[in-house]
């Protein structure tokens, strides 16, 4: 009997990368489903605000007096936890789903750290992206993808500036990290 790894259906679904247009259609349809179920489109980074406050709570700092948490909706989210806050469940789902996809394709690998320059740039880049996502009230998912899907102008504005940012970022990458 042939091994399942050699079966053409296994290769198309689990092994080979899906074409971009398939991913695009699925993301669009799933975002519509999400909007119907929870009344707001997909977002990722707003959840990190709550994760941050839950960690602060755990070490004894109480952020509930901050301006941001005076808004009723934000206060309600802050009172939830990893299992009751829908954004948290979705973010954990992304990580677990990616793990399963990598395992199903037998492509899971713990990668070695290449250099301290790579670590510093990854951490620095992450901090800048996180700060930017909060200032912009969303990342490339919440502000760009869901913004355009909601026919909001801010999604298109985000698109223009993400191109400028990516252009500057790639110049920096070529100059300092290559």
């Amino acid at each position: 009997m042939d091994k399942i790894q050699n079966h053409p259906v296994y290769k198309v679904i689990f092994k080979n990368a899906w074409p971009y247009w398939v991913g695009g259609i699925l993301l669009g349809l799933l975002n519509v489903c999400l909007f119907i179920v929870q009344g707001k489109p997909w977002g990722v980074t707003t959840t990190f605000v709550y994760w941050g406050t839950w960690i602060m709570d755990a070490v004894g700092i109480d952020p509930s007096g901050w301006d941001y948490f005076q808004i009723p909706n934000n206060a309600a989210n802050q009172a939830k936890n990893f299992l009751t806050h829908s954004g948290s469940v979705m973010n954990i789902g992304i990580i677990v789903g990616a793990l399963f996809a990598a395992l199903a394709a037998s492509q899971f690998k713990i990668k070695k750290i290449k250099s301290w320059k790579q670590v510093a740039s990854a951490l620095g880049g992450g901090l800048i992206m996180g700060y930017g996502a909060r200032i912009a009230f969303g990342c490339n998912i919440g502000a760009f993808f869901s913004g355009i899907a909601s026919l909001s102008l801010h999604g298109w504005l985000y698109a223009v500036f993400i191109f400028i940012g990516a252009w500057i970022g790639s110049k920096i990458l070529v100059k300092f990290l290559m």
Binding site: A102, K114, V174, M178
Partner: protein, 75 residues
């Protein structure tokens, strides 16, 4: 007719592609470049770019989550 290996293990996109483009400029006709990658998006964009440039490309899965992109400089 040299065989050159380019270590891109642990590098995320777009670094493997940029390194490949840089390395190919240093090589001559008849050389073979083997790019070692462990980032799945590089296994898409490195061969895609090299094929667009007109080089014959082979992709080999050497281990779980590790690939070698073999680019033949036929011109």
């Amino acid at each position: 007719m040299a065989e050159v290996r380019l270590d891109c293990m642990g590098e995320a996109c777009p670094v493997p592609l940029l390194k490949t483009q840089k390395k190919l400029k240093e090589l001559n006709k008849g050389d073979v470049l083997i790019v070692e990658i462990d980032h799945s998006c590089a296994m898409k964009n490195v061969p895609e770019w090299a094929r667009k440039e007109g080089y014959p490309v082979e992709l080999e899965e050497v281990d779980e989550g590790e690939w070698e992109v073999i680019i033949e400089l036929n011109k």
